[in-house]
């Protein structure tokens, strides 16, 4: 078959790029290795983890908060099988949705491993080794990423597991050891902590979610400790052993003092690495740089008709970042000139409470020597938060000391992930803290905390504090 654009990988970057290409009138094909579309995000990432996060949140509410709300029930029990089944249904619906969108936009879906023959020809190897080829004017590589294993302990997928297996467990672990206090470790760790597991997190650095503003990590540590999670920060894992029915982890702190943890599962979530296996990049002269595909500002690779987007290129490994890149590449191919402001791609952690942020962190501002001011407002002081008993968290606004322009918005608390969009909008239009503070925010809402934090940042004059 002959195409204008062929996309390899059907994750959020790939399928969005495909739809935008089709909208712009390109004859478009998408190649997916698995039988289902949607990639990591839909199948073993964002969506299933959110399904389980919400299930576990409902459980803990029923168990601990209903009574306070005046709802008396017999002690609830976890039906992990049903939880996993419901999660699978959610995934199935979403995947079917993508298949429908491909059909609607007349995008040809080829199932199999895509591999370059040359820069205009891609060989597709199906499950039973059936081969076919497509020729194409342009290619978008959107093959995403895979969990990174520890060098001394590969995933055995039984006791030493990645996020993929953690979403498929048949039982609630008695003691889940989590290696890595980043986004994935904290999300899945908190799920099982709520479902009753003892959860111990071992993190090499001295803080949780270290790429985010320091205040967020500290607050997250506080609220997850309340959940009963235990933490060994500043500890380096030295060995993990699968002893059949249990797994033994050894780690040591900076002074060399070692600890030993025994659990039934060990989730290794130390990050993800770009996935380019079998792509045949050598056939088109693309060389990897630290595992990533090097691209220019327009996401073009060394080969002038081949682009790469999402987790396989530089930048944060986020579904929405990949989506923006997919749209940008498609529009460029149509002669348009879109632009992505990477500073304004929000980062979110779907724990409960959620963590979300956009712009610069306080650490970055300090390092750059920029004169800034901060304003914070705690959820505790918010009527809406008290009404729903979600009083953990705060909003922190960073603003330019001279101009009052908002430089960063950092939220930990209920619904932070949805609220951050307001921060993105404000920053996209370069609003000042006072601009936001002077906008009417509906009462009672969680967003009032953003308004109050902006008042605090403007001139330290929040109303409800």
């Amino acid at each position: 078959m002959q195409y204008n654009v062929t996309i390899i990988g059907s994750g959020p970057g790939g399928y969005v790029a495909a739809i935008r290409c089709a909208q712009l009138g390109f004859k478009t094909a998408i190649i997916e290795k698995y039988d289902v579309l949607g990639g990591t995000c839909l199948n073993v990432g964002c969506i299933p983890s959110k399904a389980l996060l919400d299930s576990s949140e409902h459980f803990i509410n029923a168990k601990e908060n209903f009574k306070e709300h005046g709802i008396d029930i017999t002690a609830p029990k976890v039906n992990i099988k049903q939880m996993i089944t419901r999660k699978a249904d959610v995934v199935k619906q979403n995947v079917a949705g993508i298949a429908y969108l491909m059909k609607k936009n007349k995008i040809d879906v080829h199932t199999g491993v895509g591999s370059f023959v040359d820069k205009n020809t891609i060989k597709i190897t199906g499950k039973e080794g059936k081969e076919s080829t497509v020729t194409t004017e342009k290619v978008i590589i959107a093959t995403g990423s895979k969990p990174t294993p520890l060098p001394f302990a590969s995933f055995d997928k039984k006791r030493i597991i990645s996020s993929t297996e953690a979403l498929e467990l048949k039982e609630v672990p008695k003691h889940l050891i989590v290696v890595g206090g980043g986004v994935i470790g904290m999300e899945l760790g908190s799920v099982y902590a709520r479902l009753g597991s003892k959860v111990t997190v071992v993190e090499f650095l001295d803080s949780l979610i270290p790429t985010m503003d320091g205040t967020m990590g500290k607050e997250l540590l506080k609220v997850t400790k309340k959940l009963g999670m235990q933490f060994y920060l500043g500890h380096k894992v030295t060995s993990i052993e699968n002893k059949g029915k249990e797994v033994v982890l050894k780690a040591e702190d900076k002074s060399g003092k070692s600890i030993e943890l025994k659990g039934d599962y060990c989730l290794v979530s130390i990050g993800r690495r770009p996935y380019t296996e079998g792509l045949g990049l050598d056939k088109v002269g693309i060389e990897l740089d630290k595992g990533k595909i090097p691209v220019d500002d327009h996401l073009k690779t060394k080969a002038d008709n081949i682009y790469a987007i999402g987790d396989v290129v530089r930048g944060a490994m986020l579904a929405h970042k990949a989506e923006e890149e997919g749209v940008m590449v498609a529009e460029q191919m149509a002669g348009q000139k879109p632009h992505i402001n990477y500073l304004l791609i929000p980062g979110v952690v779907y724990t409960w409470p959620e963590v979300a942020s956009v712009g610069y962190t306080e650490e970055q501002l300090k390092e750059s020597g920029k004169a800034y001011k901060t304003g914070s407002f705690p959820y505790k002081a918010l009527g809406r938060a008290r009404a729903s008993m979600d009083v953990d968290g705060l909003v922190k606004i960073l603003a330019d000391k001279q101009t009052d322009e908002i430089l960063g918005v950092h939220i930990i608390g209920a619904r932070a992930a949805d609220m951050i969009a307001a921060g993105v909008t404000a920053m996209e239009f370069r609003a000042s803290a006072e601009d936001v503070a002077r906008m009417s925010h509906a009462h009672p809402t969680y967003m009032e905390a953003v308004k109050e934090a902006c008042l605090a940042a403007t001139a330290n004059r929040p109303i409800h504090m």
Binding site: K337, H339, T403, E405, R430, A431, S432, A433, D435, A459
Partner: protein, 509 residues
């Protein structure tokens, strides 16, 4: 011996000049006839040569307006004998001289607490007001004595304003403000000591309580994401677009319109779309433009100006010209243009109708027995009107040569005041720009001006037949106070007749 150098008489109507630039510094050794300064009148710039060799002592500073005949510098001729000695010596001598008057001339820094009010100085006889064009120092800046703090513009020239005291600047008149002579420009809080000791701004201590909410902000010119995409696709830089959003932000609509605006400029299409830009920009007119504006209104208000028209069949002149232009060029080394025909015809007619060649001075009418014809010439610097002197005595070739010489000097900006003053009648040619018909405005104090226009092939009736002829419309604007309608009309008919029968030019009938 010291030779006093006075402002030379540069032209009849010029009473004062402004010192544009000193090319030599105070104390410099100058040679005889060496150009030492550039002087400027409202008509032209000219050079001032040193009348003697010696050491220059500047009396009037740059930007000062000086009446004709007043001393602007002195040349110490005693030093001329020392011209063979190294330049350093006279210089150091001069600098000693210079250092003496400085402390006495300027009152030293006074006790803190005193406020020096700076007012618009009298910069010239006819100057009644000035405009603050640029503040070179900001509000609250520490300024040193004699440091240039602002540029001020009159309708004649731009000059620099030196600080009259050392201290903290308090601006009173903002940029663009027009002030009368003696109007308050700024205040200087007189301060002693080094700038470091006094520059600390009290504003720093006060926390910036309120955020900027003015029209322009740090975000001025910031395009929204959609606007940014549109602009970059149109190849328009955001700083070329004036944002109408909050704080000067560029909205999507601004970007869409910026695109439309550019297209409008590229193709002067006759079908403008209603989506065109509707911006207006406002800027201060230059002082020269304001002078022109004032004069034109004066002419309209103070004369009884009206215009009479006629048309000329250019065929005879064109035939004559095409027949002899090569021989003419060969013999006189200048092309035979239309200007010589018109100038010649005008001179003959002026002598027949002396009122057209006269002007009113108070209660008198001043007549001329010569024809000094002002020719309007478009130059890169604007319209200039050099004069062909005693044109009535010139041959066709002499007129063409003079026109060429004046046009070239005009193009190079070298026309002297003298070359541009004293005309008795003007000719302007709007035809070079394609004008079919216009009503020229008088060049005061003259009483009439002839307007030439483009030559167009038109059907005309000649002896009962419609024929196509090259026709030029002529317009004569005149001051009815001194020129009667009969005279004006007859004058123009006379010109028409001579051009349609060039033989009459030779005979003067």
């Amino acid at each position: 011996m010291s030779e006093k150098v006075k402002v030379p008489t540069v032209g009849e109507s010029i009473t004062e000049v402004t010192i544009a630039t000193w090319l030599k510094k105070d104390g410099d050794q100058v040679a005889m006839d060496e150009v030492i300064a550039e002087l400027e009148s409202d008509k032209a710039t000219f050079e001032l040569p040193a009348p003697k060799a010696g050491i220059l002592k500047i009396v009037k500073q740059e930007g000062e307006t000086v009446p004709v005949g007043e001393v602007i510098c002195e040349i110490d001729t005693d030093a001329a004998s020392k011209t063979t000695t190294p330049k350093e010596e006279p210089k150091s001598k001069a600098s000693k001289e210079e250092s003496k008057p400085t402390p006495s001339a300027s009152s030293g820094p006074k006790a803190t607490g005193e406020v020096k009010e700076m007012k618009v100085p009298a910069v010239g006889e006819s100057i009644t007001e000035v405009t603050i064009s640029t503040w070179l120092k900001k509000e609250g800046d520490f300024v040193a004595l004699d440091e240039v703090i602002a540029e001020v513009e009159s309708d004649k020239a731009t000059f620099e304003l030196p600080a009259e005291a050392q201290g903290i600047l308090k601006i009173v008149a903002q940029e663009g403000t027009t002030l009368p002579i003696g109007g308050l420009i700024c205040k200087i809080e007189v301060a002693e000591g080094t700038p470091e000791a006094t520059t600390s701004r009290p504003t720093e201590t006060a926390p910036s309580q309120s955020a900027p909410s003015g029209d322009k902000s740090y975000a001025a010119g910031h395009p929204s994401s959609a606007a940014g995409k549109i602009l970059s696709e149109k190849g328009i830089s955001p700083d070329q677009v004036s944002g109408t959003g909050v704080g000067g932000r560029i909205t999507k609509e601004d970007a869409v319109n910026a695109q439309a605006g550019q297209q409008k400029a590229e193709s002067a299409a006759p079908a403008p779309t209603p989506s065109g830009t509707r911006e207006e920009t406002r800027e201060k007119m230059s002082s020269i433009r304001r002078t022109i504006a004032r004069r034109l209104v004066t002419v309209k208000n103070e004369t009884a100006m009206l215009t009479t028209f006629n048309e000329v069949d250019m065929k005879p002149v064109m035939d004559l010209r095409s027949r002899y232009k090569d021989k003419f060029k060969e013999k006189y080394d200048v092309g035979l243009g239309f200007m010589s025909f018109f100038t010649k015809a005008v001179c003959v007619a002026l002598q027949e109708f002396p009122a057209v060649n006269a002007y009113i001075d108070g209660d008198d009418a001043v007549y001329h027995n010569y024809c000094d014809i002002s020719i309007a010439v478009s130059t890169p610097r604007g319209l200039v009107v050099p004069v062909i002197r005693s044109a009535e005595l010139m041959s066709m070739a002499e007129i063409e040569k003079e026109v060429m010489r004046l046009a070239l000097r005009g193009r190079d900006g070298k026309l002297s005041i003298e070359e541009m003053t004293g005309g008795t009648f003007s000719i302007t040619n709007g035809g070079v720009f394609g004008s079919m018909l216009s009503t020229p405005i008088l060049n005061p104090p003259q009483s009439a001006i002839l307007g030439m226009h483009n030559i167009v092939q038109r059907p005309v009736a000649i002896e009962g037949e419609v024929v196509i002829r090259p026709i030029m419309y002529l317009a004569l604007s005149y001051d009815h106070r001194i020129v009667d309608g009969k005279e004006a009309v007859s004058f123009l008919v006379k010109i028409k007749e001579m051009l349609e029968d060039p033989g009459r030019l030779i005979l003067g009938v």
